[in-house]
Structures are given as C-alpha cells and as structure tokens.
Point group: C2
Chain length 476, copies 2
C-alpha cells in the first residue's frame, strides 16, 4: 500500500538528479504503460552485462512498473534484472508480480533473502507470496523469519483462499470507546512506529475487542481534542472473516467503503480490509467472468503455451460433444437436404443468429446476477422481458432475411420456413441465455462458467431442428 516511487537500487541514489528525472519521464509512455524503447534499453544493458546502467534504469521505475517490465521480458532477462534489485525493493515487486512469473522468480531467490524481503510487507501481501512457494522452501523461509511475522503469515494462510481472512491485513488501529480525540492522537504519536504505514479509520472497540464504530482519520484531524471518540464514531459494516472476496467487493462497491473491520465468528476484531485491495479483487473477478464466458479456465496471463492449451482445450472438447450432438440433428434430415441442398446453405445462418442472440442475453444476465440486480424478486419479470426481446428481434430479423431470401430464391415457402425457424430460435436463445446462468446460480455454481456451453448447444440444436423440421413439413 506504499505510494512512494521507491529507490529500487542503492546505485540510483548516486545518479545525477536530472538524469534520473529524465529517465523516469522516459520510462512510461503517454498512457502510463512502459515505453517499448525503455524495455529495449533494459535488454541492451543486460546483453552488455552493464550492471550500473541496469541499476540506473530500474531505479527510475515504481515497483509496479518493474513488475510490468518482468512480464515483457523472457525468463533469462528476468533473472539478469532480478540480480540487480536491492533486497528491500524485491519485496514490493514480488507482491506486484503475476502468479506465473512470481513462482519462477521465487525459485531463484535464497530463503534468507526472501525472509528478509517479506518482513517489509503487510501480512496479507506477505502471505500471498509465501503461498506461492513450494512446500520445503515455504518451511525454510518461515523458519528464517521473526516469530511475530511468521505467526501473522501462518494465521493468514489458515484462512481459505479468496476469503476476507486472506484479503485482510492484521495491522489495524483500534481505540477504546472512552478515549477522546486528543488521547488518540497522543497515543498515535507515541506508538508511531507500530502503526500501519497508512490507515483511514480508527476502529472504536468495546472491552471484548468487538468493533462498535469507526472514526475516519480526517475527522480526528479537524475535531477539538476533547471530543470523545464515542460521540463521533460512525456505524461500521463488519466483514466476517470467512466471507468470499467477491461478496466483500460487492459490499465495498455498494456502500462506497474505504476500509472495513474484519471480525471472527465471535465478533472480535481481527483485521481490516482497505479499498485498494478491493480494486484488485474487482479487476480479478471481472477478468474471470470475461474469460469464463469465453470458455477459458484460468486467468494466468504469463502462462506457457502448454498452460494456455490446458486452459482452453477441455472447453473445446466439451464443445465438440455439443456440436456433434447438434449436428446429429442434421443427420436425421439428410434425406431432406439431399432433395433441397439450399437447406444446407441456409441452416447455419439460423443457428448462428440464435447463438449471437443467446450470447447477448447471457452476458446481460451474468452481469445482472453479479451486481445482484437480478434476484428472486425480479426473476419472472426479467425472464419475461428477455422472451419479449427474443420474440421482437426474431420477428424483425425474420422479416428482413425472409425478404432477402425471397428476392434471391423467389420461393415464398422457403422464406416462410426460414423466418419461422429464426423466430423460434431467437425466442429459445433469449430464454436459455437468461435461464442457464439463473439455474447455475440456484445450484450454487458460478453463472459465468459453462453457461455458454448450454446456450450454444440450445441454439445450434434448435436452429437446425426448427429449420429442417419446418422444411420437412412445409417445403417437401
């Protein structure tokens, strides 16, 4: 949560002031992404083995930008760059790195160096890094850390992944109800070294350490010293330690929270979550949704080609089955197609438009579920509206395409068959598009995952069946 453009290397402090500033300006493009030429400069310096230049270049970067830089380099260059990072800088960069790269980097760093680096981090960030270590190295690193830091990390790791317990930092600022503003400030000045680097709320706790309210720091600053905390505190939204991080993000977003106390089942304050952690969660969760809807299993961004194949092939296999099942419908109508090959030309259009309409409904429903705008209260109304939209779009498309088909083939019955099939398929598409995620959610599954499979199958199947079946009835 530090906002300083840290001096990443010892050497950079000796570089002339203006040269350093020039480099900082040059490192990032207009859009705050790393300048490609800067990346080239790093690669050149690494090729030349110019350690001083490398330290200078790295010194111009914020830890988050060093992490980005790592993503743009190959493994060999990453190792070369890593060797020139000051140990203090390593910690902050580790917590910024993508999982894949972090795992790779962690293998190359000695346990003692790592232990030292981790002491610099908040407990939540340190636990994240430790969690990525292999079992035996994890033990070595933890053993090399001071008792209190180790305990904090072990406690954090005891909570399940993606819960409030893992997201929270254990460092909180709490004060008893009977304190005044002045007492609190005096206490903070005395204990300055033990306070978290940044905090936004002082949690007011009762004698059993249960939060009863929160005083925003900016209120403490402006109120007379004699004001009792109990008088200025505001109600807090307590986050149970086992709550799913997506739920936590929903609450922060809904109530515009800056920080919130995390409590144990008994109600005792055990940590806090701050909104800057939530920004990452929201990003992660929406990325997961986009990828899940597209049938990609894992969000790994710097994955190897093998990992990429593993994240996509299973869904393609499942889609093969559903596509084959839909195609079997065509097989049942081979006789009709042999009589009128035009059917084979037109049938994919019916299936394809259904697929598109289904994807539209699906995306809208998945987002509405995620933001809890779609719930028991309005399920029927939502489904009904989707059906109306499907019908309306179906009729509109049927009129347009039916007319075009008539112009081309001069066959009114063919136009009618195509138009009717389209209306049926768009109706089914809208219905399945909204029902698939709803049903998955009702059964406690992630509505974004695997919905697309159902929608694609339903629209392919219906498209082929409605068009070929109607053709058999009307045309042949």
């Amino acid at each position: 949560m530090s906002r300083e453009t840290a001096d990443l290397t010892e050497a950079s402090r000796e570089a002339p002031e203006d040269e350093e500033e020039d480099l900082e300006d040059f490192a990032l493009g207009e859009d705050y992404a790393l300048n490609p030429e800067f990346v080239t400069m790093v690669i050149d310096a690494a090729d030349r083995g110019d350690a001083e230049r490398l330290r200078e270049l790295l010194g111009a970067l914020h830890p988050a930008d060093v992490a980005d830089l790592m993503g743009f380099l190959t493994a060999d260059y990453r190792e070369a760059v890593l060797a020139h990072l000051a140990p203090e800088a390593l910690a902050e960069i580790l917590s910024e790195l993508d999982t894949e790269i972090r795992e790779e980097v962690l293998e190359t760093v000695a346990p003692a160096t790592l232990a030292k680096a981790l002491e610099e981090l908040d407990s939540d960030d340190a636990a994240d890094v430790v969690d990525d270590l292999e079992e035996d190295k994890k033990a070595q690193v933890l053993a090399a850390m001071p008792e209190t830091d180790r305990a904090a990390i072990e406690t954090s790791l005891a909570y399940e992944d993606e819960t409030a317990g893992r997201l929270m930092q254990r460092e909180v600022v709490a004060a008893p109800q009977f304190w005044t503003v002045g007492q609190a400030i005096d206490h903070f000045r005395r204990e300055a070294d033990d306070l978290p680097e940044l905090f936004f709320d002082v949690y007011v706790v009762d004698p059993s350490y249960k939060p009863v309210g929160a005083a925003p720091v900016s209120h403490l600053l402006r109120l007379p010293r004699s004001t009792p905390l109990a008088q200025i505190m505001e109600p807090v939204t307590e986050i149970p330690v086992g709550m799913d991080q997506e739920e936590v993000a929903y609450i922060f977003d809904k109530y515009h929270l800056i920080s919130a106390p995390v409590v144990e089942p008994g109600g005792r304050l055990v940590g806090q979550i701050t909104v800057d952690d939530i920004v990452g969660v929201i990003h992660e969760e929406s990325e997961e949704d986009i990828l899940a809807l597209a049938g990609v299993s894992d969000a790994g961004r710097n994955a190897s080609v093998g990992d990429m194949v593993r994240s996509r092939l299973p869904w393609l296999m499942i889609n093969t089955l559903t596509a084959a099942a839909a195609a079997s419908v065509i097989g049942a109508f081979e006789g009709e197609i042999a009589k009128l090959v035009t059917l084979a030309v037109l049938m994919p259009i019916v299936a394809s438009l259904g697929g598109n309409a289904g994807t539209q409904s699906l995306a809208v429903a998945v987002r509405a579920l995620a933001s809890k705008e779609l719930s028991e209260v309005n399920t029927y109304r939502t489904v009904y509206r989707e059906m109306a939209v499907g019908l309306a779009n179906g009729v509109a498309l049927a009129v347009v395409t039916g007319s075009v088909i008539w112009l081309i083939f001069r066959d009114g019955l063919l136009s009618l068959t195509f138009g009717l099939a389209l209306i049926i398929n768009l109706f089914v598409a809208s219905l399945v598009g909204v029902l698939a995620p709803l049903v998955l959610e009702r059964f406690g599954r992630d509505p974004a995952v695997s919905s697309s499979v159902f929608v694609t199958f339903a629209t392919d199947f219906t498209g082929f069946f409605a068009f070929l079946g109607l053709a058999a009835l009307i045309l042949l």
Copy 2:
C-alpha cells in the same frame, strides 16, 4: 462518499430503537442483497397506502439499498416510495440510481426540491445528476441553487463525459509547503466546516497552487506537531483533467492509489479523485467490455424492452450479413454436398469449434490490452504464442474427432478431410482472435467492440471453405 446509514425519513427517528434494528437486519439477506420479503413488505405498505409503515421501512435502508429497491419496483411503486423520502435522503439516493430510473425519477421531482437536494452532494455527484436532466429543467434547477454550488456544477459539466474532470470532486484539502503538521491541524480545526466530508491526503502546493507532494492524513496524526509538511510529503501522481476515466482507473489500480490530485493543463490543482469513485469506474468499464464482446451496445440495466431491442438488434443485423456471407461459401459447394450429404452434417462442427477457439483468444487478448500487458513490446510474441496454441488445440481436436468420425463412417479420407479443416480453422481462429482487437486498438477503436463480428465471420468462412474445399479435392 458518506458511509453513514443515513436516517432517511424524519419519522424513522421516532420508531422504537429495537424495532428499527430488527428491520435493518431483516432488510438485507445473508448475501447483502435486498431480502425479497422486505421488498414485498414495501409493496404491501404502498398498496395499503400506509405512509407511516413506508417511512419506517425506508428508514431501515442505506441509500444504496433504497436505490436497489427502486430497481426491483415498477414505475408506479417507485413514485409511491419516492413521495415518502425526506428531501435530504433524496440527494444521496439520486446519485446511487441507475441512469434509466434516475431520469424517470428526476421528471417527478420539483426543481426547487431538487436544487436543495443537490446542495448536499459533492460536486462530481451533483453534476452527474444534473447531466441527466432535460435542458429546460436543468436551467430551472441550476437557477434555484446558490451561486457557488451552481458554478461548481457548471465547471464540472464543462469537462467531457468519462474524463478525470467529470470524475473529480472540486473539494480538496491543500496546504502550503512551509506549514508544519501542527499548523495544518490547527487550520483544519478552525475551518472544519469547509473541509470535505472525508479526505485521505493533504496536497502540499507551491505558491502557484501546483501540487508538489501529498501528506497522508494518517501520517499527520502520528507525527510531532513541529514536523514540516515539506519533510513528510510523498511524490504524487498528477492526473490531467482531460484524462479518460479508464486510464485514471488503470493508474489507481497499478499504483494502489487512495487519492490523486487533478491538475489543469498549466499544472494548477483543480480537484481530486478518490479510489471509491474508481471502484465504480472499474465496474462500469468491465461491464462495458463483457457486453461489447457479446454484441450488446448499451449497459442500460433497467432499460425498457424497446431499449433492449435497440441495444441488440443492430449487432444481430450485422451478424446476419456476415453469416450470409459465410453461407454463400456453402452455396458454392452445393454440388459437392448433393453428392455427399454427410458434408452438410459435419461442416457446422468445424465452424462451431473455430468460433469457440476464436472467442477464447479474443477474450484473453481484450483483457491483456485493457491491463496493458499486451503492447508493442510483446505483440509478436503474443501473436506467435496464440498461433502455437491454435495449432496445438487444432491437432488435439483433429486426432480425437478424426478417430470418432472414422469409427462412425469408416472413411479414412473423410476423417483426414475433417481433421485438416479443423486444424486450419483453429489456427485461423486463434490468429484472428488476437489480431482483431490489436488492429482495432491500433486504429484507436475500442478493442472489445465489434471484434466478435470479425472472429465469427472468419471462423465460419474458414470452417466452411476449408472443409468443403478439402472435401472437393480429397473426397470427390
């Protein structure tokens, strides 16, 4: 940015303490979404015309939950509920409402009431609301506001939509470089009434009001009164007033910012953006991406059926054209299909799997572009990796499906034709899936919008052409 569970009505203050708490607990379900039974209670009270009960129910809700409630009600009930909101509560609820409902609500509220409500809001939130008013009502409302508030709103509206200028609040806390911590705190205590409700950083400015650093409020609290601000301030990331909000969100996410100063082209401090505004932006932008990828034009969530049709039909029309173009390929091979109808059965499988694989590459590329992990630096490597993944998945699927086809049809050449077509289509799918968003981005377009159209067309076209073309060469 207020976190209080505001007393929404005058009446609720007179309700017995415990009954009120019970209602608050009951209003929200386990998942912090509105309890369906609570919504029913509101509807019942409105049906009975029981004003006191309505006030009591609304009094138990946070403004954000009242806004959610509005989304679950029909327009008639919304009007009934609205009539029982205290004017002070109206303001906060207005800034929480979805655009569609807000526009509807704004029509029913008198300009004078509205002007009074808006005075309660931060300038950015007030401007958002005013922007949704119809022209003549906008003039009436602004005329009814005090000069300073009106000026703030008009300045805010002068900035383009979705820029830092619109996102920022003009209320900032600034201090000259030569002040000490003690001077700052004394000043805040004297001017308490003029300070923003919440703030996280004191911006240190030079004599021309350019920010030169920021002192986190939690640092002011713990440092000795004699510490000069110039000594404790940290570098700030200045946000130009014209920066796109997506860019602002990227910077906040990347550097874990809590607040950032917004500056005019000359460098003068004109406002600040806080992270809680950014949470909303990230949500909005990722929702836009998901919907755009699915071919839905507008994120309007409480849109009418007519609006929903308008947001989806244009994309379906475009897809009709591309589907027809792809189908024309089939038309060119009618002779082949007439000879071997099995081709018509198998060709949609090739097209469908290509579409799926293309969607996978597309989703990954769009996310990587959004988080700037895909840039000039690694374009070639990314495209090359996608091609490798497409080829690997194509070969894997070709082996599996080719074997199954052999088992069913006992035709080695048919298996070979199908397998080769699949490999070609998956290769093209992966390539187009990553190239389409890259090219759109290069031309300054949103990579999420319309990429799917290109991908679907490319995979349908390639799927039909490769399979039928190879069949003509190999089989017939």
